[in-house]
């Protein structure tokens, strides 16, 4: 078991197999004394639990992933089709869970994104990036700034120049 400690001194225990999903933890475990906890200086307890949730569920999903059958002989054709079905169903289950998992507030999305980067969890990083991109698509620039609480730091001339150059992309 591995002990993790958040910036607000909350600790959580995770199985080693789960912890290894994070490349950062993988390297930390290779170096440190297994008795001690691994500090996560950038991550609060709430975010830590959410990330551990991701790692635990991913490990569980991996262990349940159906085997693909690659045999091409005609007798096994039925089995090949069944295996394909099973794999598709599994992928659907994972996708559904991920959508529900990513239904979070903007603040949590931000913390998860940075947390996934800090812990080198590529799967979670992708999920967050995908979610952020989906919040950008279909919005005008003003709407994007509102969603992400961003201040327009361009000078009026800079902004006008850029918009004029690519005018077609800005018309609604």
């Amino acid at each position: 078991m591995v002990l993790l400690r958040s910036i607000d001194e909350i600790t959580v225990e995770v199985a080693e197999t789960v912890a290894l999903k994070s490349n950062m933890l993988k390297h930390a475990l290779e170096e440190s004394n297994p008795e001690q906890f691994i500090p996560l200086p950038n991550i609060t307890g709430e975010v830590m639990f959410k990330i551990v949730d991701y790692m635990t569920k991913q490990t569980e999903f991996e262990s349940k992933k159906p085997q693909e059958i690659v045999e091409k002989s005609p007798e096994l054709e039925g089995d090949v089709a069944k295996a394909k079905e099973a794999l598709k169903a599994w992928e659907q289950t994972v996708a559904t869970w991920e959508v529900a998992y990513m239904d979070v507030s903007m603040n949590m999305l931000y913390d998860l994104f940075l947390g996934a980067n800090f812990m080198d969890l590529q799967g979670l990083l992708s999920l967050c990036a995908e979610k952020i991109a989906s919040l950008i698509k279909g919005k005008t620039v003003k709407e994007i700034r509102k969603t992400f609480n961003i201040v327009n730091d361009f000078t009026p001339e800079e902004e006008a120049d850029y918009v004029k150059k690519y005018e077609w992309a800005f018309t609604d």
Binding site: Y110, I136, K139, V141, R145, I150, D153, W168
Partner: protein, 390 residues
């Protein structure tokens, strides 16, 4: 406490940028604030090939107007772009997001999105080819780079231009198919002259090739009876492959997995009135040395786009993220002509964009009528363009 999305680390902003497949959304993403703009390149290499725009026909002579109109299939609307670089120029082709412009001997490339231009050597060059037998000049390995001469009666208008890769790749070559006796030539960007590939002495209008395309390092040409010749521009070799379909209205296009496809279009006249066009697709078989054209009704992941005069391209439906676009369909600029006994040489055509499904042959209108135009030297014809920042 709110989070500082504005000042996310640049590498994380890039991770987000890479998840944006639409050109328009990517451009807006860079307009949000300074840190977002500076972290994400104006020449991103992650954007997939975009759904094309159709450049609409316009009257090209006697006008100072440089507003060009493009129908954007993704946004379902017409964009107006001011392109003064195109004034007085013929736009002969479109490849990898660049328009090929020609005025007499002057040739250049223009990217209408970025307004970048690249100049190309004048066609043909100032020197003549003394001492080289024009019949086998492509395979003449002793021939150094030479320029091509013309006679005053030669018509060197470009029929089609292809870029072998993105224009900013150092290995990019520009291949032109012209009405000249020097019917095929190529150059690398930055070269001082064109290199001839084929010389057609038999016909005044530039030989009996019908169309060309490029795939996986080889240039392919097709002649009536659809005989295919394959050229290797590096080692200057050419191979005649099979052929055998007796068709003339043919357009070559490279499929998304490198297949060579041939689209045959057949205009349908009803009471002498051009009403519709029917398309058949053939694929060049890959098996054995005797390649042949096989009629196909399933082009797999390909969504084909067909314009006029050799303008054709293909995209993968997997990248288009919308069930509307294929797979296995052909989107074309459909022209119609009302019969008018008064008109003889200056007929007016109308057009709109249609989508034909190749398996069940249904045809749907993608747009309403896009306006009328003529087909003569005063008018610039329509062309498909894949908008790109590269």
């Amino acid at each position: 406490m709110g989070r500082d999305w504005q000042h996310l680390p640049p590498e994380l902003l890039q991770v987000i940028g890479k998840r944006i497949p639409s050109l328009a959304v990517y451009i807006r993403f860079r307009a949000v604030c300074r840190p977002w703009q500076s972290s994400c390149s104006l020449r991103p290499d992650h954007l997939p090939v975009q759904l094309p725009w159709l450049m609409l026909p316009y009257r090209s002579d006697g006008s100072n107007d440089s507003t060009r109109r493009f129908y954007d299939l993704a946004a379902s609307k017409i964009h107006e772009l001011d392109l003064p670089e195109t004034r007085g120029m013929s736009i002969c082709g479109s490849s990898h997001g660049w328009l090929f412009l020609q005025k007499g001997q002057e040739m250049s490339l223009l990217n209408p999105i970025t307004r970048a231009t690249i100049s190309l050597p004048p066609f043909p060059g100032p020197l003549s080819t003394f001492g080289i037998n024009p019949e086998n000049l492509f395979e003449n390995r002793d021939a150094n780079e030479y320029a091509i001469s013309i006679s005053p009666t030669d018509n060197f208008m470009v029929r089609k231009a292809i870029l072998t890769s993105s224009a900013h790749d150092s290995s990019c070559r520009v291949i032109v198919f012209t009405y000249s006796k020097w019917s095929l030539a190529f150059c690398k960007i930055g070269d001082v002259c064109w290199k001839a590939i084929e010389f057609q002495s038999g016909y005044p209008w530039g030989g009996d090739f019908r169309d060309i395309t490029y795939s996986n390092g080889f240039l392919y040409t097709v002649s009536p009876f659809a005989a295919v010749t394959m050229y290797n521009l590096d080692n200057r070799s050419k191979t005649l492959l099979g052929g055998g379909v007796n068709l003339t209205r043919i357009h070559l296009v490279e499929g998304v997995s490198g297949d060579i496809l041939l689209i045959h279009d057949k205009p349908i006249y009803v009471n002498r009135f051009l009403k519709e066009t029917k398309h058949t697709v053939y694929k060049l078989s890959n098996n054995g040395p005797e390649r042949e054209w096989i009629k196909v009704i399933d082009v797999g992941q390909n969504v084909l786009f067909l314009g006029s005069h050799h303008n054709a391209l293909s995209l993968s439906s997997a990248n288009l993220q919308s069930p509307k676009w294929g797979p296995n369909c052909l989107c074309y600029d459909s022209i119609r002509k009302k019969w008018n006994p008064q008109e003889r040489f200056d007929s007016w055509y109308n057009h709109n964009i249609k989508l034909a499904s190749l398996d069940n042959e249904t045809v749907t209108d993608i747009t309403a009528d896009l306006g009328r135009f003529q087909v003569n030297e005063h008018w610039q014809r329509s062309l498909w363009l894949t908008p790109s920042l590269l």
